[in-house]
């Protein structure tokens, strides 16, 4: 993994969990809290008897959310992967494979807010470069998958988030903030920096779902 092209995840993000740096961050213990436990029951019940391993993805999301609640960093430590494996009665390596395959799971700690910036063609055409620049300006982060000095933000470049119609998209943790531009991004991040709660996700310019900007321009009168 020594050869990395720009945009690839850093070597620390994948593979060998035994590096000294990783051990420093790795908690020694993980247990699902009551909120997660309630959810686990519902999730596992979705799958047929004997196919519990299918629940590995939702459970990893659950881990990431619980870590965010408890440590202000939404990531999946190795001990938590082991806990998922034990719960689903599958070999731990099968969970490691899944957790490292999907880039949605952070296998190293991230900032309190994980900024996931889409720079794929539609977002880029609609000005994702400005959103990236605004993020860099407010957070002081230089490269991808780095965390700001105050520990609040981590910036990741992601591929298409499937929200092209409201491009550009900034995903913060699990929520989409749509129709972003430079100033909107700056204002949003500044408010988070001040400790305010994140605003309601969705379009930042008042667009209704994926309707045209400024309101509908066809089917203006709908007959019952």
């Amino acid at each position: 993994m020594s050869v990395l092209h720009p945009g690839a995840f850093s070597a620390d993000n994948v593979g060998d969990g035994s590096t000294a740096a990783h051990n420093r961050m790795e908690p020694t213990h993980f247990a699902f809290d009551a909120e997660s436990e309630a959810e686990i029951g519902r999730i596992i019940a979705r799958y047929p008897q004997g196919k519990q391993a299918s629940a590995v993805l939702p459970l990893l999301y659950l881990v990431q959310d619980q870590m965010r609640r408890h440590t202000a960093s939404g990531w999946v430590p190795r001990v938590a992967m082991d806990a998922v494996a034990a719960r689903l009665r599958m070999p731990p390596i099968r969970v490691y494979e899944v957790a490292t395959f999907y880039l949605m799971f952070n296998t190293t700690p991230v900032g309190k807010y994980h900024l996931q910036l889409c720079t794929t063609t539609p977002c880029w055409l609609r000005g994702s470069d400005d959103v990236v620049a605004a993020c860099r300006k407010v957070t002081g982060i230089k490269g991808w998958h780095e965390t700001s000095e105050d520990g609040l933000f981590t910036m990741s470049e992601v591929e298409c988030l499937g929200g092209c119609v409201n491009a550009p998209i900034l995903q913060i943790d699990n929520d989409f903030y749509e129709d972003m531009d430079g100033p909107l991004t700056e204002r949003l991040l500044e408010s988070l920096k001040r400790g305010e709660a994140p605003p309601q996700p969705g379009s930042m310019i008042g667009r209704m779902t994926s309707a045209p900007e400024g309101g509908p321009n066809t089917l203006l009168t709908v007959t019952e």
């Binding site: 994948v14 593979g15 060998d16 969990g17 494996a85 599958m90 070999p91 390596i93």
Partner: protein, 693 residues
């Protein structure tokens, strides 16, 4: 059966076969990396592309089922082009380090690149590099060479039953490894080296030692457990450089256990290479005539009843035959091959064989294991049980009486001691019902159940369990003894046991004899031998046996002599001499033959063929190499009609506590010492494996 046409010729293959299998049956070679006939199909290397009529694109033949009337072409411009393309992609990230790669000369990628690749590289960009993984003292990794065929992952998961290897991350960043670094906890990990089609997983002890074309290859039989794995001994000059398994579907498929594969450095260390005689309490070097003279002098005037012989675990049948005949010539009936004190009834051959045969395990549908840990005592046989267990979808009931153990398949732990055998016989135990409900129940009794004072009773009662659940029928013999010593069955076949008035092993070492001929028995404490007993140790390693010897006669290890071995199934196999024993050491039967002449009782054979004729005379099973399967014709069990009742309910103990250190050769091996040292830590570091997968 399905008929299809491969390159213009019609072939008929079993329904459900893959196109690749059909092509191979038609005699066409299909290049491949990820496909392996004993593993599940992954279909990810794309090297096996062929053209199928009416299909718009090349098809990965390993993962494509045959259909009636299919027309397959394996040598069209499209196929050649596709293979060249796939090979070019595979080589993008594969280093050009063949000159320093241990796989060189026996590398699938090298061979196939030569045969099917392009003639030049168009790739000028940087290649990726991958950090090497530490997998323990056996498997060396150079992960940059990995082409991600996932054979190793599938082997560990499916065959070895230790799901510890996986592919983490994705795309260009994908890496094969354990993620959390730890040594592999399998006794079969050496097979990863064979199975890796490139030089990513190679042998650590063999690293940078030799090229395959420099080696002399000799067929032999492994003696470090009782499975009798057929092996190939690769030697160069006076050294064994490695052991490789030979393919035998009836014994080992194509696998080999780690102890058998990696004890070879033990053949070069602690060797006895000259005779020694104890004088004034110290062993001093001697010549053969002096050593023989010393023994002859001590034997003079000794009552034949006060002479005895014990045979060890690694002996070839020839040397035991010669020793038995020598004792017979001296008039002694004190013979024993059971240095571990196992209570074995040798009155009928089926009482001490693995009668179902190893391949027969694949017909079993319920297994009871009594006092054995097959994973440690016979990893290859254990892999066969796992294979059967997987084939039944993990539903085959396996019951274990003895110490709890992780055997790589689902096991119901029934209890610790022989107390249960009664309830299994009368059917009151739940598991007895499972055995009775099975068509082919299989009962395995291990040495851990027999090496105890009430071992004979345990054996008799276990036979009765087998009889009571219908395991003994005309077409199925479900009573099996699992041995842990390679020489044991051969010795029992030759009757290397106390004669009518003879002493057994305990009687001999307990002061019953004045002269004890120890043929390679090292698995007991020499201090047990009475102080006044004169011990002749004949063997190849300076181990426990040699330490308590008055005369040491240097013999040959199994790679250094032609020998006959009978495995736990009763399969007669021959190994051939791959190299000469060091120094003055000689083939064991020749030593005994030479000594017999010194004392005027010359044994009646001058060459190995005559000796084998004598073995055949003693027991006709030695007449031919191989094995005939048989059913049970006689239900009466060992110990006669009224076997001794089960006395104590003392728990069984493991026959093999440290898998890597069970004989003088493995104890002399640095690799095995390292494996043994790290095994507990590796087991602790390995995430708890779940057998079911």
């Amino acid at each position: 059966m399905v008929k299809l046409i491969v390159d213009g010729s019609e072939v008929e293959v079993a329904a459900g076969s893959s196109v690749l299998q059909a092509c191979e049956q038609a005699g066409r070679e299909i290049p491949h990396f990820c496909y392996h006939e004993r593993l599940s199909v992954a279909g990810n290397c794309r090297m096996c592309l062929v053209e199928i009529e009416k299909a718009p694109k090349p098809i990965a033949s390993c993962a494509y089922p045959v259909a009636e009337g299919m027309v397959v072409r394996t040598d069209t411009p499209m196929v050649r082009q596709a293979r060249r393309g796939v090979m070019e992609f595979l080589l993008i990230n594969h280093p050009l380090d063949c000159p320093i790669c241990d796989q060189g000369g026996e590398c699938d990628l090298q061979d196939q690149a030569y045969a099917y690749g392009g003639d030049h590289s168009r790739y000028a960009e940087n290649k990726r590099a991958v950090k090497d993984k530490e997998l323990g003292p056996i498997v060396k990794t150079v992960m940059t060479r990995c082409i991600q065929c996932t054979r190793c992952i599938r082997f560990a998961t499916e065959i070895a039953g230790v799901p510890e290897l996986g592919a983490t991350a994705r795309g260009e960043n994908m890496e094969v490894g354990t993620y959390v670094e730890h040594a592999l906890t399998s006794e079969l990990s050496g097979n990863l080296i064979d199975i890796c089609p490139v030089g990513a997983l190679t042998s650590k002890p063999y690293a940078f030692v030799a090229r395959p074309w420099e080696l002399t290859k000799t067929d032999s039989v492994d003696v470090l457990d009782a499975v009798g794995t057929p092996i190939r001994v690769d030697t160069k000059g006076p050294e064994v450089l490695r052991f490789l398994p030979r393919v035998n579907d009836e014994i080992n498929d194509e696998w080999m256990a780690d102890k058998s594969r990696f004890s070879f450095d033990g053949l070069k260390r602690r060797r006895l290479d000259r005779p020694w005689i104890r004088q004034n309490g110290r062993l001093v070097q001697a010549t053969w005539p002096d050593a023989f003279a010393a023994i002859a002098a001590r034997l003079r005037g000794v009552d034949p009843k006060r002479i005895g012989a014990v045979a060890g675990d690694l002996c070839d049948a020839e040397s035991m035959m010669a020793l038995k005949d020598l004792m017979g010539a001296l008039g002694s009936q004190n013979l024993d091959c059971r240095q571990d004190g196992a209570q074995i009834d040798a009155s009928r051959r089926e009482f001490y064989l693995f009668n179902s045969t190893i391949a027969g395990i694949e017909a079993a549908d319920a297994i009871l294991i009594v006092g054995s840990n097959p994973r440690r005592e016979a990893p290859i046989l254990n892999a066969r049980i796992r294979k059967r267990w997987l084939a039944t979808g993990g539903h085959m009931p396996v019951g274990l009486i003895g110490p709890q153990a992780e055997l790589t398949y689902g096991v119901t732990h029934l209890g610790d001691g022989p107390g249960l055998l009664a309830s299994l016989q009368d059917g009151s135990h739940d598991f007895a019902q499972m055995l009775r409900g099975a068509d082919r129940p299989l009962v395995i009794v291990g040495q851990g159940a027999l090496r105890r004072p009430d071992g004979a009773a345990v054996l008799a009662q276990t036979w009765r369990v087998a009889a009571s659940v219908g395991a003994l029928s005309a077409d199925w013999h479900g009573f099996n003894m699992l041995h842990s010593a390679a020489a044991r069955v051969g010795a029992l076949d030759l009757g290397f046991l106390p004669g009518a008035s003879g002493l057994d092993f305990a009687g001999m070492v307990g002061g019953g004899v004045d002269v004890l001929w120890n043929l390679g028995a090292d698995e007991f404490d020499g201090a047990r031998i009475g102080a006044g007993t004169f011990v002749i140790y004949q063997g190849h390693h300076g181990d426990r046996g040699a330490a308590r010897a008055d005369v040491i006669l240097p013999g040959s290890a199994y790679t250094e002599k032609d020998g006959t071995y009978v495995n736990t199934e009763g399969r007669v196999q021959r190994g051939y001499r791959a190299l000469f024993a060091p120094g003055d050491a000689r083939e064991d039967w020749r030593i005994l033959r030479a000594f017999s002449a010194v004392i005027g009782h010359a044994l009646p054979y001058d060459d190995i063929d005559a000796l084998r004729g004598r073995m055949e005379q003693v027991n006709p099973v030695f007449a031919r190499v191989g094995l005939a399967r048989f059913g049970a014709s006689d239900q009466s069990g060992p110990g006669g009609a009224n076997p001794p009742p089960l006395p104590e309910a003392a728990p069984f103990v493991e026959a093999v506590t440290d898998y890597y250190q069970t004989n003088p050769i493995s104890r002399a091996s640095l690799t095995m010492a390292e494996c043994s040292r790290i095994a507990p830590a590796a087991l602790a570091a390995a995430p708890l494996a779940v057998a079911a997968e």
